[in-house]
């Protein structure tokens, strides 16, 4: 036993070199900076060649002027920009509010689902049923049901705005998915951590709060970031309720001008928000992987 554990330490020490710590971008940079820059150069050249061929093919087909007129018209772009941007601001607001509510509701659902003991059975059932329903029904359908359905009931005291119910639909649907992300995180924390916390006299709730959840959440941050990125696009689904966010505004302009450039404006805005977020998620995942492979040695 002594022998094997010693050799384990040796091989671990050899594996924990600096490459694990370096993210993708800094690795690319160090490749360029080193004497052998060939791999990076090849990558750069092939990317350039690929896009060159694609652009040439589109331009050479003879249809380019028509494509440009209806999708990439500079004038139409300028005209659509203010209204679409205004709508996009609403998208961002819905996005932030929804994400905060999703993270909170999902955590509650996940915690309820992992409670132990017969006394908590009703809460577990509530959580499971909720998750099953909102994960099983298409998001668009939930948006229709709540966004058109609830305001139509005209119940006093309930808000009548399609915007509010659209966001509620997003929150319910996404919370169901996100609860499962949290649950995977909770399951990834070894049972012995819970035992250790309970043995100190902590209650079931305290053990979860102080010992299990911090580790669980840390383990699923990459997955939560991915959810954040995808929610950023899905807020646009609320346009089906007539809410004048970016896609709706763009479509109104399209119908008026018979030009698709306004939709491209909306697409550009969504890309400007989502691409940096996606890179952030990548960066965090890479760092997270490095941290894990390091603590495993």
């Amino acid at each position: 036993m002594g022998d094997s554990s010693e050799s384990g330490i040796e091989s671990g020490g050899a594996g924990s070199g600096p490459p694990h710590l370096i993210g993708r971008f800094s690795r690319l940079r160090s490749e360029l900076g080193k004497d052998d820059a060939r791999p990076a150069l090849i990558g750069f050249a092939s990317t350039l060649a690929f896009f060159g061929v694609v652009i040439w093919a589109v331009a050479a087909s003879g249809n380019w002027p028509r494509v440009q007129r209806s999708f990439f018209s500079a004038e139409a772009f300028r005209n659509a920009w203010p209204d679409v941007l205004g709508g996009f601001w609403l998208d961002l607001q819905m996005w932030v509010v929804a994400e905060i509510l999703i993270l909170a509701l999902a955590l509650l659902l996940a915690v309820l689902r992992t409670l132990r003991g017969p006394a908590f059975l009703p809460l577990r059932v509530v959580s499971i049923v909720f998750i099953d329903i909102f994960r099983g029904v298409p998001l668009l359908l939930v948006i229709f049901l709540l966004g058109f359905g609830v305001p139509a009931l005209q119940i006093p005291g309930l808000p009548n705005s399609a915007l509010v119910w659209g966001v509620v639909a997003l929150v319910l649907s996404y919370a169901a998915y996100t609860a499962e992300v949290y649950r995977a995180g909770i399951d990834s924390v070894n049972e012995s951590q819970r035992s250790a916390a309970r043995s100190l006299g902590l209650t079931q709730w305290q053990a979860l709060r102080y010992a299990v959840l911090p580790q669980a959440v840390r383990n699923v941050v990459p997955a939560l970031l991915n959810g954040l990125v995808s929610l950023q696009k899905d807020v646009a689904l609320i346009s089906v309720l007539g809410v004048r966010e970016a896609v709706r505004e763009a479509d109104i302009i399209r119908a008026r001008t018979f030009n698709f450039t306004s939709l491209v404006v909306a697409a550009v805005l969504f890309l400007l928000a989502s691409v940096p977020l996606a890179r952030l998620a990548d960066w965090y995942s890479a760092r997270d992987r490095a941290r894990r492979s390091q603590s495993a040695t």
Binding site: S199, L200, G201, L202, T203, P214
Partner: protein
Amino acid sequence: MSKDVIPQITLDNVHKRFGKREVLIGIDLEVAEHEVICLIGPSGCGKSTLLRCVNLLERIEKGRILFGGIDITAPGVNENDIRKRMGIVFQAFNLFPHMTVLENITLGPRRAHGIAKVEAEARGRDLLDGFGLGDKADEYPDRLSGGQQQRAAIVRSLMGDPEVLLFDEVTSALDPELVGEVLGVIRGLAERGMTMILATHEMGFARDVANRVHFMHEGKILESGPPAELFKSPKAERTQQFLKRVIEAGRL
């Protein structure tokens, strides 16, 4: 053990099973105050399970466990209050990796015992000093050696002033050269009169510190006695075989 002392811990016909598998079959055990009890026996005989049952981390099916004369396995007992009066140390340390050593050891006092942070930290630093970990208080566990981690885990179990300590093979996960420092700590606790139950594979250590040794086999206590007797002239055939194997492996 003289008859007029009330035992600190009593196991009375304790049964435990996982599914169909019977892991503890009618365990009777008494531990008096200031006594050190060692549980020995082959892997899978139920030592860890026994300790986890005493700490109420597992529910027993039959029998009783008394702690200070009170049946702690009776319905309605607040298990958190019972656990606050015991400490348990695990084979794999089970420190919380997202907390510093000081946060690890003050979690119980602050959250379970309701002691103020300043007070808990002052006491924590004192105890860490006493166990040679004074300079590690603000480190995360993964920066410590195995021996240091296990000593930190022992400090964590001591923070609530336990009346009884349970040790579950606390040196088995350590590199051989680190075993000594942890055993030294436990020896010190024994000398200070701490009541302890130790599951261990360290027979030499058991022989030195234990008042009584219990040999377990397949969920039963097959043989008990003072270490000098049990190690020198074991009566049950199973005990003889087990000790023979231990001696061959050079662990006695």
